[in-house]
Amino acid sequence: MHQTGVLIELASQHGVSNSFLESEKNRWSQLPCNNMTAFEQTCLKAPGITSDSPSRLFDHFKQLENILLCGVLSVFAAVREAEEFLVKSTFTQISFPMLTGEIGLEWFVGGIQLSLLLAIGSIFSTLLFGACLFKLMRSKSNVQHNLIKVLSIFLQNSPVILLLILGSLGSSLIWGSSLILSVLIAVCVIGLNNGANLGTSMYEASLAGEAEQSILSVAQSVMVQIRAVLINAVKTTPIASFVGVPELLTTLTDITSFSGNQFGPFLIMVIFYLCLVQGVVILIEQASKRLATYTGAQP
């Protein structure tokens, strides 16, 4: 099917990104994969999780830095030893398949990168949309003010999972679908959902304060709400997996389905998200102190 291009045609009809399908078509059109008698040995080999077979990731490492490769291999060996020790000492099978093989590691690193990107993107989009909605709510035009208020109520009160589906369907209507687009949509939707709460809080605080307060002094007065919405934004990011963003939850679920052991991957996931949320809390504390100094220094 790859060779005939049927899959590319179907992908084009339904607006699905086809870069992977094109590379597969090229692969299946060339030797040895276009040879009916020889292809089974080389072309249908399923990707494994262990480090027994040579891989693309390792080829890169060899070309770039042999020392790094040795380091990665020694980490794999150390993790395997640790797994054996845990089995002997706790009598339970605990394994970390994402840290004992190159394909697992490749997926794991990709998942972490995407999760971090989602978290950082969600924080910035929350602040950006919050500030934009606040500015628009302060508009002197009644029509604009009311429209933005209705939009904010809609965004605040809709479940994030439905907003993500809505964003994903809307974008597929206009631009089709791809990984980058899914990530962008997830970042924007999480930002809008939390930003609407932030914008409303800032607007209500500005009504209670002086008439012409700067955006920074308003932000200073709603620091508790800013902290809450940013933490919520980070905690919401795993829901992006529902619309096909391959973040850490998705990649670890995939790795788990190959390895069969869940405890290790889920333990890593728990630690990752707890550290991420605590990191955001610390960053907000720092930003809050700086903002207080800055707004306090203003005349």
Binding site: S158, P159, P238
Partner: protein, 207 residues
């Protein structure tokens, strides 16, 4: 394929009852841990630091991730023998949301106990709108159950829209359902506000 709006709405509301059930069960589970935690925190128990740590953990843990962890745990280890696959999915959603409700119920109960200790007569009743607010949020959060294919309103909507060949129709259906959820949650928020104002007024009268 023909789409009957009346049939969809009846089935949708039937599935929405599952969201309400999940909200109520999560709230009940929140009471089971949250109220004893609040009572313990008012006294000098040795376990208090452990309770505070547990609550901090509960507050910072993503509910969606926890739902998958709980589901994988109880689904594979024959943790709950005799339970159907659907019941296991439902339990996973309830347990995950209970983490939020436990922390929230503990906060609301702590406030209530402080008012009682200060001999305020009407303020302790503010726990009623607080608990109602927690229930509202738990009910709305139950939409994450769609990821585990629990038969709730969002999951049903996903099943229906996937049968639509036209993407514009899919978009319109999801938009309609999202507006429904937004109206329900906003109405419940107004109800919570009205309840709080009613109690505040009675506080002013008594004082």
């Amino acid at each position: 394929m023909t789409f009957n709006l009346t049939d969809f709405m009846i089935n949708f509301l039937y599935c929405f009852v599952t969201n309400i059930k999940i909200g109520l069960l999560s709230l009940a589970a929140g009471f089971v841990l949250g109220v004893p935690f609040a009572f313990a925190l008012r006294h000098q128990f040795r376990v208090n630091s452990l309770i505070k740590m547990t609550l901090a953990l509960f507050r910072s843990f993503p509910v969606y991730i926890l739902m998958f962890i709980v589901f994988n745990k109880i689904n594979n280890d024959e943790f709950l023998p005799g339970y159907t696959d659907y019941a296991i999915r439902l339990i996973a959603v309830v347990v995950a949301i209970s983490v939020y409700t436990t922390a929230a119920v503990c906060d609301a109960t702590s406030d209530c106990l402080s008012h009682i200790a200060n001999k305020n007569t009407a303020q302790p009743y503010l726990i009623v709108p607080n608990v109602f607010r927690i229930f509202t949020l738990a009910m709305m959060s139950s939409s994450i159950g769609a990821a585990l294919d629990v038969s709730e309103a969002v999951s049903y909507t996903v099943r229906v829209y996937e049968s639509f060949p036209d993407r514009a129709d899919r978009f319109l259906l999801v938009l309609g359902v999202t507006i429904f959820f937004a109206i329900v949650q906003h109405s419940l928020k107004i109800l919570v506000l009205l309840l709080s104002q009613l109690i505040q007024r009675s506080i002013q009268k008594t004082s």
